[in-house]
């Protein structure tokens, strides 16, 4: 089985983001593998552990610098990479077309992974567009995945801790959520091994993707400023712990 993992080269969430010319960011900062895509790569490697003949191919649309992100995915266990090189920022329509075209040219997908979303655009559209273009079923925010008897059984998480279970025919598109697994990060020997893995470069314009009437451009970016109101939690350690648990449950609603 060929497993394709679509990954994105995104700014580090800890970076100081500066907006330039209203609709761009200053890209002189650290870019890395989109965190949701780490779950996608890890899951692909987990599946390959039980299907030794499987091949994991990571595909990325981005600038030349995005090779670093492909290298990260290769160090995490993917077998080879494809960079669709472009200096432009593409919307999810063009991105999905490019990914679909390259995947079809490259091989026969048994499974396609993406992250649930990218942490820069947070569009959550690319996986559905790939599915629509290939006529594959799609599940997003997948937190559990089993491949059994030629089908994928997935738990797709909704808000409020609820998950729906779906059975999907293969091939299908899986949008990996955070709960799917704990990312398996590379060791130094993994990095050394990955140096020998290949990255094929394809120029975006060579794909001859027809431009559609519909498209999306970024007109303006604005920083989202969140007001913070620090409060001091007083009391002895036991009281403080109780108050923190109450805040996490009732105010933050994360536990």
């Amino acid at each position: 089985m060929q497993i394709y993992v679509c990954v994105k080269h995104v700014p580090d969430s800890a970076a100081n983001i500066t907006i330039v010319e209203k609709n761009h960011i200053d890209e002189n900062l650290t870019f890395l593998l989109n965190p949701y895509d780490e779950h996608a790569v890890t899951e692909a490697v987990r599946i390959k552990d039980s299907l030794p003949d499987a091949e994991i191919i990571v595909v990325c649309l981005g600038k030349d610098d995005a090779q670093k992100t492909l290298r990260s995915a290769l160090a995490m266990g993917a077998d080879r990479g494809v960079l669709i090189e472009s200096n432009k920022n593409h919307d999810s329509i063009e991105t999905a077309q490019a990914l679909k075209t390259v995947i079809e040219q490259d091989g026969n997908p048994g499974l396609i992974f993406t992250g649930r979303e990218s942490i820069d655009a947070e569009g959550m559209q690319t996986m559905f567009r790939i599915g629509a273009l290939l006529d594959f079923p799609v599940a997003t925010n997948v937190v559990k995945l089993d491949i059994e008897a030629g089908r994928a059984v997935v738990d797709s998480a909704l808000s409020g801790g609820i998950a729906n279970t779906y059975e999907m025919s293969l091939p299908c598109v899986i949008g990996a959520g955070r709960g799917l697994n704990t990312p398996r990060y590379p060791t130094f020997p993994d990095v050394v091994k990955s140096k020998k893995k290949s990255i094929k470069k394809i120029v975006f314009s060579d794909l001859k993707i027809e431009s559609l009437a519909a498209g999306m451009n970024i007109v303006e970016l604005e920083p989202l400023l969140q007001e913070r109101e620090p409060k001091e939690i007083k009391g002895d350690a036991g009281e403080v712990a109780k108050k923190i648990v109450r805040i996490l449950k009732e105010e933050a609603k994360v536990i």
Binding site: D12, A14, N16, N28, L32, L33, P35, T187, F188
Partner: protein, 445 residues
């Protein structure tokens, strides 16, 4: 009328607070002024707070060994003061110095013998027994991952290590400064925060006081520069002080990484502080069972000298601001990954970026100045945290002696250590010295 103190200390970090503490114990009425909101919130907070004795000079070893005694009995040093935030804790892990071409370990061993530091020599089998996940191949010379040779298979083995049972780290460096502030306050010291010094005033060739950004003037015949990464700016505010220093200081950007310990290895509880010149890293345990990975400044790494105000404001861009870089993250984590091959390295950098107040030879300046009444404890170069209580006492004695007429430039003060039976020539730290080529010119001092 301006408020008046005997001594104003610019900075309330881990060096500024003990100077106030010791001067107050001697009867001086002191005021610490800091531009941040609380004690220890500046570069002290970003310190790795490692307590180890290996230095490239015997004086450096002696001072660190003396400092160790203070950390061992922290409550006693603080005179049992209460701190509502709790007390910082010294964690005695023991300290491994890998014998490598990256350290002049023979010189360190000679210094240990001279000072009387307890140590053991470990062969590679003993290292593996104590640090099971270690790979003891030699990786020297230190390289960057951008260099293809970085990934070459190593062939030679290391030659063991020197282990000091007395060594470790302090779990919360900012809190330790806060503790000393509370101890100083108990002796009468005062502190003001969110107050930026913009001028050091002098009258008739003598120190007269400081002026704050809001125009407030505070008078004192003694002003001590403990401004950390801002030390060079403070020296420039005082008449003739910058010009009178042969050794200058600058702010050097530095990154420290947090990388999770390999599965099955309880580094937090079973691990040691380790200084490994073969891979240009030092490590110590950190909460969450992570490796804290510092750099020993190998020649192949870039040095970023920055404006401290721009840096702390997040300005300057990639590699110059206060955000970790992917390149350095990989450099430090992969170097440790050579030594600990089961270490998993996440894609997103995690850690601390802060500044060293770095001197020309990475040895501090603890001295008077050419302006009577103006003193400095600067140029700590990332390696003086452990010495802070000793420096506090030594600076207080230096200030007291100079105010009573000692010509320290001509007849340097001999400081008698409180715990170890040894004195040190404070002239070693003189601003007038020539660059000390015995130094490691790194964080190792």
């Amino acid at each position: 009328m301006n408020k008046k103190y005997d001594a104003i200390i610019i900075g309330a970090g881990v060096i500024g607070c003990p100077i106030a503490y010791e001067l107050s114990k001697m009867g001086y009425k002191t005021l610490n002024v800091d531009k941040l909101a609380d004690a220890g919130e500046g570069s002290t907070a970003g310190s790795c707070a490692i307590v180890r004795a290996h230095y490239s000079t015997a004086d450096g070893v002696a001072m660190a060994y003396e400092g160790f005694k203070y950390w061992l009995d922290w409550k006693k040093y603080l005179d049992n003061v209460e701190d509502e935030k709790g007390l910082a804790r010294y964690m005695n892990t023991g300290s491994i110095l890998i014998k490598s071409q990256g350290h002049d370990w023979k010189k360190v061993q000679k210094n240990y013998d001279e000072v009387g530091v307890q140590y053991e020599e470990w062969d590679n089998d003993k290292i593996i027994e104590m640090v099971p996940p270690a790979d003891l191949h030699e990786f020297w010379p230190v390289m960057r991952p951008e260099d293809p040779k970085f990934f070459d298979e190593p062939t030679k083995e290391l030659e063991g290590a020197i282990f000091c049972p007395e060594g470790g780290y302090v779990n919360d460096p900012a809190l330790s400064a806060h503790n000393i502030m509370r101890a100083a306050e108990a002796k009468g010291a005062e502190f003001i925060f969110n107050a930026e010094v913009v001028d050091v005033r002098s009258e008739n060739g003598k120190t007269a006081g400081i002026t704050l950004k809001d125009g407030t003037q505070i008078d004192a015949g003694i002003v001590v520069n403990v401004g950390g990464p801002h030390s060079f700016m403070v020296n420039k505010m005082a008449e003739g002080v910058w010009e009178g220093c042969n050794i200058k200081t600058k702010a050097l950007r530095h990154e420290v990484m947090y990388c999770p310990s390999p599965e099955g290895y309880d580094y937090l509880n079973d691990g040691y502080h380790m200084s490994d010149g073969d891979i240009g890293c030092y490590v110590r345990p950190e909460v969450g069972n992570t490796f804290l990975i510092g750099s020993e400044d190998p020649d192949c790494d870039p040095q970023e000298w920055v404006d401290p105000d721009d840096f702390y404001a997040g300005k300057g861009g990639h590699g110059k601001d206060n955000v970790l870089t992917d390149e350095q993250w990989k450099a430090q984590c992969y170097r440790l990954g050579q030594r600990i091959p089961t270490l998993q390295v996440p894609n997103q950098p995690k850690g601390v970026v802060d500044l060293y107040d770095c001197s020309d030879d990475w040895i501090p300046v603890y001295d008077k100045s050419d302006l009577p009444g103006f003193y400095m404890a600067i140029g700590t170069s990332g390696n003086q945290y452990k010495n802070a209580p000793v420096v506090g006492r030594m600076m207080a004695e230096l200030i007291d002696a100079c105010e009573k007429g000692l010509d320290h430039d001509k007849e340097p003060l001999q400081y008698k250590f409180q715990y170890t039976d040894r004195s040190t020539d404070v002239g070693f730290f003189s601003r007038k010295r020539e660059i000390n080529y015995n130094s490691s010119f790194s964080v190792n001092g």
